[in-house]
Amino acid sequence: MNNPPLRRVRRAGRVREANKSELPARQAGLDQMMDRSATASDGALDTLPKRLREQARTRGDGVFLREKDLGIWQPFTWAQAEKEARTLALGLAAHGFQRGDKVAIIGDNRPHLYFGVGAVQALGGVPVPMYQDSIADEMQYILDHAEVRFAIVEDQEQVDKILQIREQLPQIEMIIYHDPRGMRHYREPGLEWYEDVQTRGERFEADNPDYYTDEIAKGQGADLAIMLYTSGTTGKPKGVMLSYDNLIRTSLNGMAHDRLTDREEVLAYLPMAWVGDHLFSYAQAMCAGFTVNCPESGATVLADLREIGPTYFFAPPRIWENILTSVMVRIEDAAKIKQRLFHYFMKVAERVGVRLLDGEPVSFSDRMLYRLGEIFVYGPLKDNLGFSRIRVAYTAGEAIGPEIFSFYRALGVNIKQIYGMTEATALVCGQSDGQVDAESVGVPMPEVEVRIGDSGEVQFRGPGTFMGYFKNPEATAETKSNDGWISSGDAGYFDEGGQLRIIDRAKDVGKLNDGTMFAPKYIENKLKFSPFVLEAVAHGDGRDHVSVFINIDLDAVGNWAEKRGLAYTSYTDLAARPEVYDLIGGEIEQVNAAMAGDPKMAGAQVRRFLILHKELDPDDNELTRTRKVRRRFVADKYKELIDALYDGSSEVKIEAKVTFEDGREGTIKATLAIRDLEPVAALAKAS
């Protein structure tokens, strides 16, 4: 794996030059920022705790975090944040915290958990944020593997989860909880309320006034800053170790790429355990000094989004799609005149909006029409969604439906694709303004090199390249070469415009028996662009043809069924309806028709499908916590179903275990129908 022969390498310099020639005025400010990055590597501000202190010093009254509590947005200034982190850190120190200690951070995006991250990092410790909806088993593995000594958690729910597995985790000494509700009668040793720890910290500070400053000064850019466990589509989670250099330089490069300033408003709603949250809602805030907002609860995110109106926003395709669906549902319920207005101006937007956003010339009359649309449709709509102030929005992680992508861009929401992974500190490629499309993921970020390996695999190297996997040198060696190149595991290529395109996971790309290329994710993504398809799993490697499992989208199909007076009792019931099979069959045929037009893909059309009796679920290990299909696991678990897809039978019986939210298990029995589809003639175009 060392030094694979290069096919194409893109260097970052080119991109930065392009920016410079486009926007000389903004470049000046940008250069200053890059200068700051230079000083950072000189040692002045080379860790996040140093940056937090610097922000508290230079913009103490500026707002770092906001949290909606009791219905009101409560601000925390940089100075307050620094104080919170400091007292917590010193409280930890009073409890015997050592440099290098690992601290689990578990809960929703809460300011006090971010302060916890700051406190741990200040003492040279390593925060290990974890998915708050993990069940106890998953949690146990990570707590154990990461050798966690302290845990800072949000509330009773998380405390209970840890206590449940505590016997197997002798190295855990303390659990610090922030919300005292329901905790009054707990008598377990090592439980302490967050604010009590801080009080202890204040006393400690009185005795050791320089301790905090000294500890921060000991930190260096190359130090381990955070460990993020990737759920990985196979095997046990791996602890990705990122350094301050990784985080800070990637932050600055990202800021330069999209000209971020201290005036950005961000909504921190994706799990803290995810690298993007740590980068976009924490590290970049530390570097740029912008404001991060924490929603009231998971259920209020959309309402909070509307109230905050972020300027810099990240969402995976799933969320962009959900929002679009909710808009469409509301439009369908609206008065006829509103519907007509909406559809008329959306047509205008599709024709004009994207070109305006990309700075292309647009005729005067179109420009005026778009203005009018802004007043009647786009403006109110964006306002309602909380998108009226967005300057930069990202989507990543999965392919996004082209029509979803262009919907937002037509409205004037500057949504762009980025490409990255935890091992790259989240950012490898990103689309530049004016060069945005739904198919590609952009050009390499500043200072990042990207090349395509022999097998077609995307490889990269840059300032965000991770230190290694914690206690797993074999896996590190497999992923990272001696000279720093990372194998992404994604198959991709550069298009004519120099933009990277991702096809699939490299290891998942296979061949049908007749030699046709089989890229399951490519097919699945095309299927998932249908509003009725929630999830799809394609099979075909080493087989005669392609067949798929489908998960229907309960909301969309349920709505569709209601309109037709089709009564159903549950997901399982709805999924088994012949009418629903007809509906999904039609959707698949459209995808087949599209694939027929592409000579490379025409042979890989879907010939058989079935609709699964249950939704694939992370709790059943079928999806990762980031909701990616665990292909191998699913193939194993549903082997009888796959067999049935290839033995010509028209139905198959299944009995499956499911895990409920509370951890109990049960079984579902069902008979699933299998449908055949006629492939669309590949030569339709030629004739």
Partner: protein, 264 residues
């Protein structure tokens, strides 16, 4: 995990002695005596038509028993209207959710503060400044309840649009807003699925634990009753046939007969 020893059950808070209630020839309650002690969770169970809701209705003044007395906080109580009893610190929820369907969750819970208003309505209308300060304080308390019941997401939603389980939760919130000494819950878990029942049980326990509120509830799900109550009384045909800890009641022959439908 929680240390139950921390719980302290106190003096008798409300006592019904020998109350009888009849509608014409129908005897809803016959000579029922029962105590509700401070800080306890008391479950009232019994077959359908046993008089459970009638007993609750007597306690909060919807009905006035023809015989017997009800003593609250040591004072024998005259026949007061429900709104007056509410002001004494007894709040309740209903078997069939009785919320203000056209109003938002927030407004519904705010109405629960009515019993906590000093003076009369007109006076408040006149003193605008102090009224607003007052209103803000009430709002803070109501927001704490919203937070407690985890219903932030439906704060501004008219309750008529909420699913049943959520409405029950809002109704609990409205009762809590009165900061009651005694909380009466009429089948708080009726019509809920397992998960919703667990949530509701948790809230009932938390209310009892966090605020020390005394709770009397009617419930059909025996699993829930046995799990969360400190004491159970059993009614059958309008008479009390048992009164004791969940275990005692479970072992009581009269109770078993009543539930198995042995004729008297």
């Amino acid at each position: 995990m929680a240390d139950e020893a921390g719980k302290h059950i106190g003096e008798v808070l409300l006592s019904a002695s020998n109350i009888s209630l009849s509608f014409g020839a129908v005897h809803a309650l016959t000579d029922v005596s029962a105590d509700i002690r401070e800080h306890e969770i008391l479950a009232i169970i019994g077959p359908n038509g046993a008089g459970k809701t009638s007993l609750l209705n007597c306690i909060n003044g919807v009905y006035h028993p023809q015989k017997g007395t009800i003593t609250f906080e040591g004072e024998p109580r005259a026949d007061l209207a429900p709104s007056e009893i509410a002001r004494q610190g007894i709040a309740r929820t209903f078997q069939n959710v009785a919320l203000f369907k056209g109003m938002t969750t927030l407004d519904n819970i705010m109405t629960g503060r009515n019993t906590r208003l000093g003076g009369n309505f007109l006076k408040q209308a006149l003193y605008w400044g102090s009224y607003q300060r007052d209103e803000l304080e009430h709002r803070v308390l109501v927001e704490k309840i919203i937070d407690f019941l985890e219903i932030q997401a439906i704060r501004k939603v008219p309750v008529g649009r909420l699913p049943y389980g959520m409405q029950k939760r809002v109704e609990l919130g409205r009762a809590l807003a009165a900061e009651p000494r005694l909380l009466l819950l009429d089948e708080p878990m009726a019509g809920m699925n397992v998960e919703e029942k667990e949530d509701m049980s948790r809230f009932v326990l938390d209310v009892n634990d966090e605020f020390g509120t005394t709770i009397a509830l009617i419930e059909h799900d025996m699993g829930v009753v046995m799990d969360i109550s400190d004491r159970v009384i059993v009614l059958d045909y309008g008479r009390k046939i048992a009164d004791g800890t969940p275990d005692e009641v479970r072992a009581n022959q009269a109770v078993i007969d009543a539930y198995l439908g042995v004729s008297h």
